[in-house]
Amino acid sequence: MSPALTKQSGDVAQPAVAGDVVLDVQQVTLRFGGLTSLDSVSLQMRRGSVLAVIGPNGAGKTSLFNCLTGAYTPQEGSVTFYPKPGESVAVLGKRPHKIARLGIARTFQNIRLFPALTVLENVQVGVETRQKSDALSSMLRLPNARRDQKNSVAEGFRLLELVGLRGKSNELAAALPYGEQRRLEIARALGTVPSLLLLDEPAAGTNPTEKAELSALIRRIADTGVSVLLIEHDMPLVMGLADEVVVLNFGKVIATGRPEQVQRNAAVIEAYLGAESEETAIDATDLPDVGSGRLPGTAKSGEPGESA
């Protein structure tokens, strides 16, 4: 397939979001055999913003992430990434490491660190993907290899400082508590100097304190100019952080808008609470508890609608 650049193909609608766009997803459809995981999903993201993708389990959120990072190649649609204003790249069909090089970094829903490497080494792996020294100069310890080594340690410490793990640089990644592993994963992703950071349920399994720290951390990251695309079940976190929310259900975008708009959207309430609850007057503030009221380990099973 040859994904067309959105800007160049005239028949595709221009981004609906005003201003500087960092990511433009157009009509992406992903099928697994007979199962349609994503059904012509479109969304645009402003540079420097925090966009949250929410939706019931199985709505296709992680599938969307996997399409954006090259793990899956959707059958239809286009994804255009703008690393800098005015610079556009088609993302689909590229291998994951190429996409990471372009400036899209990600974390995983089930944390995937390098468990037997130290905390610092984990971040260094991210930092070093931008370095150029080759195997020969590494083996001969040539000046450029030594310089890279020094830079990666310095940059690694800086990022660990940012996520509050500097004091643990020498521990094994596997030895960290859950919340710190999440933050380490973010630091590793930041090491690749992304302009777009994808976070897949960063608050899953964290306690309230860690959640608050995480929220502050994401804010700090967004303030440095990195756009953040966030999948999250924790509604208070989403409502507090996101500039914009996209709601997915059964692989389709059912609502897009500012958090408070989306909270009041009838289709969203229906998706989360089930059709029969339409008559019940729902206070919008009830909505947050739907997603966050379950344990992360059980989040995969069961329909969200049933718990309401």
């Binding site: 660190l113 490497l117 070093e128 080759d134 083996m139 596997a174 592993q181």
Partner: protein, 443 residues
């Protein structure tokens, strides 16, 4: 008591939990060993072997050995807390000593001095073995260590690159060793870079299409590659001289200005050349392991999906590891070819497996580990030659490796990372969770 074995008990005691059962198992094993190592029968009297080995006085030696081993394990189980304490004390003090500034270089220097002095005391046969069995295999193991230990790729056809190095040497240096030869003949030393490049190229050619495969599949493909190279060497008479092999490859020699030196029949000069090469390779690989490339390879080994998503070009890195290993193997091939006669039999699957055994036995990912592995494995093999009948050597050898893998799976001198990986896998902690998560994003 047998049912509620404490979780801290070792693997052997959970498998055979009561001491009596263990004694029974050991006695049974000793009977099998007695049978295997005893005289063999023949077709007219098929039971002669059984008669000679079990219904004979010698069986008591084996039964006695079984009882002694049983007593030792019993004593060990009882004394385990004390032993563990002592061991911890010893390792922490030695580690503290090793951490002291300056102690590292001194240790390395001491080891180097030992490596230089010891062969002088050996018999000529042992010196010969120190070159062809220990030295060359240590070099081969160092190369395979990059592939298996650093990148985590199981390569069962590794010896093919050794063959390529050896045949390239014969082709480029001698007009008589093979039916054909290159139009320009080189000094054997000049062939080092040529063989290195050819082997690295072969590594890239093999790796390019196959490194997309994972785990078992890669092992099978590389196994096939090793067999193909050996079969080609055996059958391409016009180029490789077939099963007759290559004779008369010129010895290594240096003619630079006033220096005029030729390596000859004496194995010691080869030995020292190998020591120099091994030290250089160890320096280079230890730098590689600590560099961005080494960390990238470790990341691939631990979680390929995460490494790729983090921006590590996994395929390119794996190819790199493959070709670095292959070129090391090619260099070992040059030395071997200039030292002595070789034929396709030299590059059998058995040789590949031997290198693999050395790497695993010594400690995957650890440079000193694999060199020590080469010394211990090949040394054991050499000394068994005089002690037991030649055909029985593999029995003892196999038993040694089995015992080692049960009680010390990480190898003699494991690398820090590797032993932590094994510890994580055994505890079934985070790493298992991460492995099972692989199904989520893998294609």
């Amino acid at each position: 008591m047998t049912v509620n074995a404490p979780p801290s008990s070792s693997a052997s005691s959970t498998a055979v939990s009561s001491p009596l059962k263990r004694l029974g198992a050991l006695l049974a094993v000793s009977l099998v060993v007695a049978l295997m190592t005893g005289p063999s029968g023949d077709s007219p009297t098929p039971l002669a072997g059984v008669k000679g080995s079990i219904f004979d006085v010698r069986v008591f030696k084996f039964l006695l050995a079984a009882v002694v081993i049983w007593a030792i394990t019993l004593g060990y189980a009882r004394l385990q807390p004390q032993i563990a304490e002592r061991r911890a004390a010893v390792t922490t003090t030695s580690r503290r000593l090793f951490a002291r500034p300056g102690s590292r270089p001194i240790t390395y220097l001491l080891l180097l001095v030992l490596a230089i002095i010891i062969p002088l005391q050996l018999s000529p046969a042992a010196q010969q073995a120190a070159v062809t069995d220990v030295g060359i295999y240590a070099l081969l193991a160092l190369g395979l260590n990059v592939v298996i230990g650093y990148a985590g790729l199981l390569d069962l056809g590794y010896i093919a690159f050794y063959a390529i190095g050896a045949y390239a040497t014969a082709y480029f240096t001698s007009s008589r060793a093979l039916p054909t030869h290159s139009s320009v003949l080189f000094n054997p030393f000049a062939v080092f870079p040529i063989a290195l490049l050819i082997a690295a190229l072969a590594g890239v050619l093999l790796g390019g299409p196959t490194l997309r495969l994972r785990g078992d599949y890669l092992a099978i493909v590389t196994l096939g590659f090793g067999e193909i190279v050996q079969k080609v060497a055996n059958n391409a008479d016009g180029f490789t001289n077939g099963s007759r092999g290559a004779f008369g490859v010129p010895k290594l020699s240096i003619h630079v200005g006033p220096i005029n030196y030729r390596w000859g029949i004496d194995p010691l000069p080869y030995y020292y050349l190998l020591v120099v090469l091994i030290v250089l390779v160890m320096l280079a690989f230890s730098a590689l392991e600590r560099s961005r490339i080494g960390r990238g390879l470790a990341a691939i080994r631990e979680d390929e999906v995460a490494a790729e998503a983090t921006g590590v070009p996994t395929l390119r890195y794996k190819l790199l590891a493959f070709s670095i290993g292959a070129s090391t193997s090619g260099i070992a091939g040059v030395i071997f070819a200039t030292k002595q006669f070789f034929n396709p039999q030299t590059f059998s699957l058995q040789a590949s497996l031997l290198v693999l055994t050395i790497v695993i036995f010594g400690g995957m990912g650890s440079l000193f580990g694999v060199v020590l592995g080469a010394i211990v494995i090949q040394g054991t093999f050499f000394f068994l030659r005089d002690v037991v009948p030649p055909n029985d050597r593999y029995i003892y050898f196999g038993a040694l490796i089995m015992v080692m893998m049960i009680f010390r799976p990480q190898g003699l001198l494991p690398s820090r990372r590797r032993s932590q990986e094994i510890a994580l896998a055994e505890s079934g902690g985070a790493s298992v969770e991460m492995l099972s998560a692989g199904t989520v994003v893998e294609r």
